[in-house]
C-alpha cells in the first residue's frame, strides 16, 4: 500500500489537475465520475435517478452551474464499475416475465474501496488553483462544518506555500513580472474566498471586530 499522494501541478498559469492517487491505487480527478461516486455513496441509485440527482446537486447550482449529459453519467457508472469503486445490486427474486426483467432498474452502490477512495480524495488538500468541479464536489460532499473547516485550512496552507514559492521567484523581465503578479493575485483571491468561507462557517453569533471598531 503506497501512501496517499496528491498529484501536484506546479506550473503557473495552468489549472490544478486535482488528481489524487488513493492508497488502493485508484486515480481520482474532480470529474463527473467522482461526483457520481459521491452521489452513489450518499445512497444507492439507478441511472436515471443519478442523472436527476446530479442536476439538482450541480447543474441547478447558481451562480456556477455544472452541467453534464446523461451519457456522461452512464459512462461514469461503467468506468467506476470497471475499477471496482461501485457495484451492481442484484435484484431480489427473479423477475417473473421477460418484460419485467427488461424494465428492472439497475441499482448501483459504492464498494468499500469506493468509499475509502472518496474519503481519501476529500482528505487530500485542495491546491491553490482548483477547478470549478473540484470546488463544487468538495463543498457538496464535505460531510459537516468540521470537515469543511479542515478542508479550508488545508487549502489555505497550499495557497500560502504557493505564495512562498512565488515570493522566492525572481522576476526581472516584464513578462516574468506579469506572470508572477498574475499568480499572486489569483492566490490572493483564493485566500479572500477562504476568509469568507471561514467567516460563513463561524456564523453570525460569533462576534468579530469589524474594521474601525475598537
Amino acid at each position: 500500500m503506497g501512501a496517499l499522494t496528491r498529484v501536484r501541478w506546479r506550473s503557473w498559469g495552468t489549472g490544478s489537475t486535482g488528481e489524487t492517487v488513493t492508497t488502493s491505487g485508484a486515480k481520482l480527478r474532480p470529474s463527473a465520475k467522482l461526483a457520481v461516486l459521491g452521489l452513489v455513496l450518499q445512497r444507492p441509485s439507478w441511472g436515471y435517478e443519478l442523472v436527476a440527482r446530479f442536476d439538482r446537486a450541480f447543474a441547478e447550482q447558481q451562480p456556477w452551474p455544472w452541467r453534464v449529459t446523461p451519457q456522461a453519467i452512464y459512462g461514469a457508472l461503467n468506468d467506476l464499475e470497471a475499477v471496482e469503486l461501485i457495484e451492481r445490486i442484484e435484484p431480489e427474486g427473479e423477475p417473473r416475465t421477460l418484460s419485467a426483467q427488461r424494465n428492472a432498474r439497475q441499482h448501483w452502490r459504492a464498494t468499500a474501496g469506493g468509499a475509502r477512495a472518496m474519503r481519501e480524495w476529500l482528505a487530500a488538500p485542495m491546491l491553490s488553483n482548483p477547478t470549478r468541479e473540484e470546488v463544487l464536489i468538495r463543498l457538496h460532499f464535505g460531510a459537516d462544518d468540521a470537515s469543511l473547516r479542515a478542508m479550508l485550512q488545508l487549502h489555505a496552507a497550499e495557497c500560502l506555500e504557493e505564495l512562498e514559492r512565488i515570493g522566492a521567484t525572481p522576476a526581472l523581465t516584464r513578462p516574468e513580472r506579469l506572470v508572477k503578479e498574475d499568480r499572486r493575485l489569483a492566490v490572493q483571491a483564493r485566500l479572500s474566498w477562504i476568509d469568507f468561507a471561514l467567516a460563513e462557517l463561524r456564523g453570525p453569533d460569533d462576534a468579530r471586530i469589524r474594521p474601525g471598531e475598537r
Binding site: A156, C159, G167, R214
Partner: protein, 239 residues
C-alpha cells in the same frame, strides 16, 4: 531558540455589551534572520498581532516570549532590541533623513556625532545615502520606506516589525524594497515580521501566513530544515 514566540495568544475587546474577538489561539515562532509575512484583510486582527508582538499591548490569553524572556517582564534594554517600523511615523516637516534616522540613538544617549555617523551608515545600507540631507517632504514613497528601514535598523535590533512596507509603493519598486529587507534580515540575523493588507509583500518572505478573522493560517513554526539553514546563516553572519 526562537527570537519571537507567540504562544496561544487570545485577545478580546469590549464594545458596549459585546465582546469582540481580535485574535484566537494564535501561535507563531520566528527565528533569527527569518522573514515572516502575515497578510490579512481589514479587521483580520493584524494590527493587534503587531502590537502584541511589539509588546505595546498585552494579550488576554497566552504568552509572548522575546529571546526566551516573557516580554511583559523584559528589561528595557531587551525591549529596545525590538524595532517597530510604520510608515505613518513620518518626521516633522523640515527634518532630514539623517536626523530622523538618528533619533532612536539620541533616546539611548549616543553622542550627537556618533549618532550622525551611525545614521549615515544605516542610510547607506538601505541605498538612501543621497537622502541624508533631504527633508522628509521631498521623499517619494519608496524613499520613505528606505529611510524608515534605516531608522529601524540603526540600533541593530534582533526583531524588526514592519507594518505594511509596500503600501502606496509603485509595483516596479516593490520587489527591490522587499528584497532589500530580506537581504538585511539574512545578513544581520534580524528576525523580521512583515504585515500587509494583501499579499503584495510576499517577495523575499521565508514564510507566508494569513490572518483570517483572528485565526492564523499557515506554518506557525519554520520547518526543521529551514531552522538548520537559518541558524547556519546566522552563525556565518555573526562576527
Amino acid at each position: 531558540m526562537s527570537v519571537l514566540a507567540l504562544e496561544n495568544i487570545g485577545k478580546r475587546y469590549r464594545r458596549g455589551h459585546r465582546e469582540l474577538v481580535a485574535l484566537r489561539d494564535v501561535s507563531l515562532e520566528i527565528e533569527n534572520g527569518e522573514v515572516v509575512c502575515v497578510s490579512g484583510g481589514r479587521g483580520s486582527g493584524r494590527t493587534t498581532l503587531l502590537r502584541i508582538a511589539a509588546g505595546t499591548e498585552r494579550p488576554d490569553e497566552g504568552n509572548v516570549r522575546f529571546a526566551g524572556v516573557e516580554l511583559s517582564t523584559a528589561a528595557d534594554g531587551l525591549r529596545r532590541q525590538i524595532a517597530f517600523c510604520n510608515l505613518r511615523f513620518l518626521p516633522a516637516h523640515g527634518r532630514d533623513a539623517c536626523e530622523h534616522v538618528a533619533m532612536p540613538l539620541h533616546a539611548i544617549k549616543v553622542s550627537h556625532d556618533q549618532a550622525g555617523l551611525l545614521a549615515h551608515r544605516a542610510l547607506e545600507r538601505v541605498g538612501a545615502a543621497d537622502l541624508a540631507f533631504t527633508p522628509a517632504h521631498e521623499w517619494i514613497p519608496s524613499e520613505a520606506v528606505r529611510v524608515a528601514l534605516a531608522r529601524a535598523i540603526v540600533r541593530e535590533p534582533r526583531l524588526l516589525i514592519f507594518d505594511e512596507p509596500t503600501i502606496g509603493i509603485d509595483s516596479l519598486e516593490r520587489d527591490p524594497l522587499l528584497t532589500l529587507i530580506q537581504g538585511i534580515a539574512h545578513e544581520s540575523g534580524i528576525a523580521t515580521l512583515l504585515t500587509a493588507g494583501d499579499t503584495a509583500s510576499v517577495t523575499g518572505a521565508d514564510r507566508v501566513l494569513r490572518l483570517s478573522e483572528g485565526e492564523l493560517l499557515g506554518r506557525a513554526v519554520p520547518a526543521a530544515a529551514e531552522v538548520v539553514e537559518l541558524r547556519r546563516r546566522a552563525a556565518e553572519s555573526s562576527p
